[in-house]
Symmetry: C2
Subunit: 203 residues, 2 copies
């Protein structure tokens, strides 16, 4: 058995991912949430243009540097059980949920955020996780790679013994996060992490 005969290589796959990332980075920035409901899953990036002291220095330099990148996939889409699922507003719902988180934070203003998003439907839906990973690698966004917890959800009843996340310590306000009773991370250490943030150099 010659194992190399069984290894599939595709140079065009890397090109295709680059094309999707390039497409995404050229979509218009819109409000959060977008002003119109839409269906489908995809990838989004959030951008910050406000004056939270530690962030201002980072994002004033490069307004195209996202603070967070994420994805939304509708459940069970790969099974293809009924194209009805294509009407699920998975991405729009996620963006709306995050808008609520940002609005709840006492030291952030929702109107200081913008977003880019791309919808990946039919066969291209298979690329959602790939494009999200490529965007995250490209930018190592502050809230993905340095500060944990923005993407967390309400753990619900009986599970509030967990600790608050770094994000919730830095930006208190989410009702469910204020219920968490575990030993929280040290605020000074979190601030230090933000100060040491370096986005990868874009070429």
């Amino acid at each position: 058995m010659q194992i190399e005969n069984h290894i599939f290589h595709s140079a065009s796959f890397a090109e295709l991912i680059d094309a999707a990332v390039g497409f995404m980075c050229n979509t218009p920035m819109v409000t959060l949430p977008p002003d119109e409901k839409f269906s489908g899953g995809g990838v989004y990036a959030l951008y910050y243009q406000g004056n939270f002291p530690q962030y201002q220095a980072i994002f004033a330099v490069d307004p195209n540097l996202p603070i967070y990148v994420g994805k939304a996939v509708f459940p069970g889409w790969r099974k293809g059980k009924g194209s009805a699922k294509q009407n699920d507003p998975a991405l729009y719902s996620r963006l709306s949920e995050y808008a609520r988180s940002l609005k709840a934070a006492v030291n952030l203003e929702l109107s200081d955020f913008l977003c880019r998003f791309i919808i990946l439907q039919s066969q291209e839906a298979d690329l959602i996780s790939t494009v999200e990973a490529a965007m995250t690698r490209k930018y190592r966004p502050l809230w993905n790679s340095y500060i944990d917890g923005f993407g967390n959800h309400d753990p619900r009843k009986g599970r509030y013994q967990q600790a608050k996340s770094e994000w919730d310590m830095l930006h208190p306000g989410r009702v469910w996060a204020e219920r968490l009773r575990g030993v929280p991370p040290d605020v000074n250490q979190i601030a230090e992490k933000v100060d040491h943030y370096h986005a990868p150099r874009q070429t």
Copy 2:
């Protein structure tokens, strides 16, 4: 907001999947499990060449029609935490596990099975689920789309109140399956399903 500006289309993605499926269908058929251990995740297809009465009529006609298609992904590979994970023999282990299932079945012979497999590594590992889905759509293999349960695992202690699967009714022998105590599916109905199997016409 013009939503169409946010929809990413890629004709070359469909071509790339076709290329991967074409590559896979042209790899050599090997024994199950393959005679050499190898690392990596990927996609595999199993082929049956024996004389189990209900199957013989199906697979004698087209020896390139798989009876089962599956994938193996190593856990956490997308996080990219240490390339050590690339050495996990995920695909080889899966094929070995299935070889044990087939050996245990009282009315199947392991030597009547062959397999094709492709390894998808580095960036191409993102294609594993896509290629598996494309192969399954292309062939609708008997043990994927008609007869449930071949891919099941031992439910382990305390969970044996489940019912035996269709596959385990048709091919008794797996030790853990014989422990299941739920009301099993009707053997005659399963046989009927097999008789009604139609592979999609290949063009």
